[in-house]
């Protein structure tokens, strides 16, 4: 009998080009997404060495991190940002790589457009010079975030050098209660395993609650795998996956589609395959989540209070907690729902897809953003924006006092003009609450899109379930 293998093992084995005696492997890469921030030095390296892009046909480029989310018909004001974007344009033209330019409706956050175009496919390997590449794991695609040297390596060789990771499985069974979303689920998972809980592992997400998620929900879960320290997150493809991909511009067509689906159906972990680490959660026990500190693991149910460092026995963790609370300007014992916000951000590769827009608009409909709150909604791509506008979601947001903007990474990492001022506090649907992440001195509380919209309306962090009961 053949060895029982996991989904990760199967995709790994199907892409192994070479293995050294010491375990260092060369893995073939089927898909490479590039963007303006982590690629210029890689192209410069190719030029200096006189190397070509080995497979431009497997490479797709888009500018997302740096682009303005305000009207961009007159170009980009910021000189450094403009130079990065122009450098990407030039490199793509010189090396023959397909690019969705700033005026292309398909432009958007790389982790939104890959799936949207059918560039992301089950059973493939993907890399991108961005840690949230884990997103594509939602399709049963083995997707790694890499640095610029590895971007250059992939451009030159269409492979990456890696050692095999450990297998970890997170099983979520049960039903998510009303008002509780994929974002709350992944925040609860990170709270349970910690920000380094997945280090050295590829995490497979399994169980009924994962199966019941839409592709958008699965992307949100896999997206934040990196916040648990894992190299990649992955979900076995199923009918939901195939339904999402069918008819996308870059998805296989006709007979190729049929044979692809037949193969994709074989992509699952064998019954009885062993994992190095297993975690189980019950979805029905998950309460809407909110972060209180400066690491995604600093997360609690919205019904809880700001924790007290005096209750932490580990000295390094206590020091970190004290530092976080000082930075966040919070006192132990404060109910999380008493925390007043100044800003709200709906967007990022975690939560900027059509389903996220719908969830937030549902909360915003017929309500008003609190007077003291500045709320911005940034769709993940030009196509998400167009669809939301066709559904009239933009008007719901605008009527409620939200700012409806152009697609990009925006205030998730504050590389463009969208940023928090020192001391400003935001309810954000993005993925990181690190010190200064959304602007120097800015204070971030990570939440789901519905919880963000609810906070903007209430003016403080709030339990979406109470708003829904009104």
């Amino acid at each position: 009998m053949s060895r029982l293998t996991t989904l990760y093992d199967k995709i790994w084995d199907a892409h192994l080009v070479d293995e050294r005696e010491d375990g260092t492997c060369l893995l073939y890469i089927d898909r490479h997404l590039i963007h303006e921030v982590t690629s210029p030095q890689a192209f410069e390296g190719l030029l200096n060495a006189g190397r070509k892009v080995r497979r431009p046909d497997l490479t797709l480029a888009v500018a997302d991190h740096n682009v303005p989310t305000s009207d961009r018909s007159n170009g980009v004001d910021d000189d450094e940002s403009r130079i990065q974007i122009e450098t990407l344009d030039k490199n793509c033209a010189d090396f023959g790589v397909e690019l969705y330019g700033m005026d292309d409706i398909r432009q958007g956050i790389c982790h939104v457009i890959g799936p949207e175009q059918g560039f992301t496919l089950p059973g493939t390997t993907m890399v991108c010079g961005d840690s949230h590449t884990a997103t594509h794991g939602a399709f049963g695609c083995l997707a790694f975030g890499i640095g610029t040297s590895e971007v250059e390596h992939t451009l030159a060789t269409q492979t990456m050098v890696q050692t095999k990771a450990k297998n970890m499985r997170v099983t979520v069974d049960g039903d998510l209660p009303l008002g509780v979303t994929a974002k709350d689920m992944v925040l609860a998972i990170i709270g349970a395993i910690g920000t380094a809980g997945g280090t050295g592992s590829v995490v497979e997400f399994a169980g009924a609650a994962i199966r019941n998620l839409s592709m958008e929900g699965r992307m949100t879960v896999c997206n934040m795998t990196i916040e648990g320290g894992a190299r990649a997150g992955i979900v076995a493809p199923d009918e939901t996956t195939f339904e999402y991909l069918k008819g996308r511009p870059k998805s296989p067509k006709g007979a190729a589609w049929e044979s692809a689906v037949a193969y994709w159906k074989t992509l699952k972990t064998d019954d009885g395959a062993s994992f190095d680490q297993e975690i189980a959660l019950n979805a029905s026990e998950i309460v809407p989540q909110v972060t209180w500190g400066t690491s995604p693991e600093d997360v609690l149910p919205i019904t809880d209070v700001v924790p007290n460092p005096a209750d932490e026995s580990d000295p390094s963790r206590r020091t970190k907690m004290e530092r976080s609370l000082t930075y966040m300007g919070l006192k132990p014992g404060t109910p999380l729902t008493d925390i007043k916000i100044d800003r709200m951000f709906i967007g990022s590769c975690t939560n900027s897809r059509i389903e996220d827009m719908r969830a937030a608009a549902e909360v915003a409909r017929g309500r008003k953003v609190a007077d003291h709150v500045d709320a911005m909604v940034v769709p993940g791509s030009g196509l998400v924006k167009e669809q939301a506008e066709q559904e009239g979601l933009d008007q719901i947001f605008i009527d409620a006092g939200f700012d409806w903007r152009e697609p990009g990474c925006s205030m998730c990492l504050a590389m463009n003009a969208d940023k928090l001022m020192p001391g400003e506090r935001s309810a954000s649907t993005s993925n990181r609450n690190f010190e200064g992440r959304q602007g120097p001195g800015g204070r971030t509380h990570l939440v789901s899109p519905a919880m963000a919209a609810a906070a903007a309306i209430a003016g403080h962090l709030t339990d979406i379930r109470e708003l829904e009961a009104e």
Binding site: Y28, Q41, N66, Q158, A196, A256, R323, L413, F434
Partner: protein, 202 residues
Amino acid sequence: MKKFETLTAVAAPLPLINVDTDMIIPARFLKTIKRTGLGKSLFYTLRYDEDGREREDFVLNKPAYKDAEILVTGSNFGCGSSREHAPWALDDFGIRCVIAPDFADIFYSNSFKNGILLIKLPQEDVDKLIEGAERGANATVTVDLENQEIKGPDGGVMSFDLDPFKKYCLLNGLDDIGLSLEKEDQILAFEEKHRAAQPWSY
């Protein structure tokens, strides 16, 4: 890539856990198309106050540690983003070696590709090195990659583990693109087989 053989240098203590890549270098400094010049922005928020003046209490601003080439720090160093600007900033500042109980995966890989040696040690050994490093400039540490040994300021020796391929590349200053391109025949053969098995991927 620069070779790493033996390094004798001042070690700076940074006893914080979960030092993330935004702390190592905030995103607003990534708007560059070069790898160089990032050292001045290393640990920007920890290093400078709101007016851009050096904070006297930050370790790398203290005279004793201005020339530190080794950093000793807490677990999960480098967590967060895949930005290679983090090791570029460390390298540009002059840090050639970081010692911690563990590191985030992508940062770990990125550092070795820039000639920076990352060493994982048990917490108690890291604690000892931090204690030694707190004595400042007179307490130098020697890192010997060939023998995988660290000599502390008082002559105590600790050994460390390292993946043999990473060690080989670092000792010889080899960039792995050249090594991988030597496998071109294997890559071509793989592509042919893969295209036949999964034609829709092409």
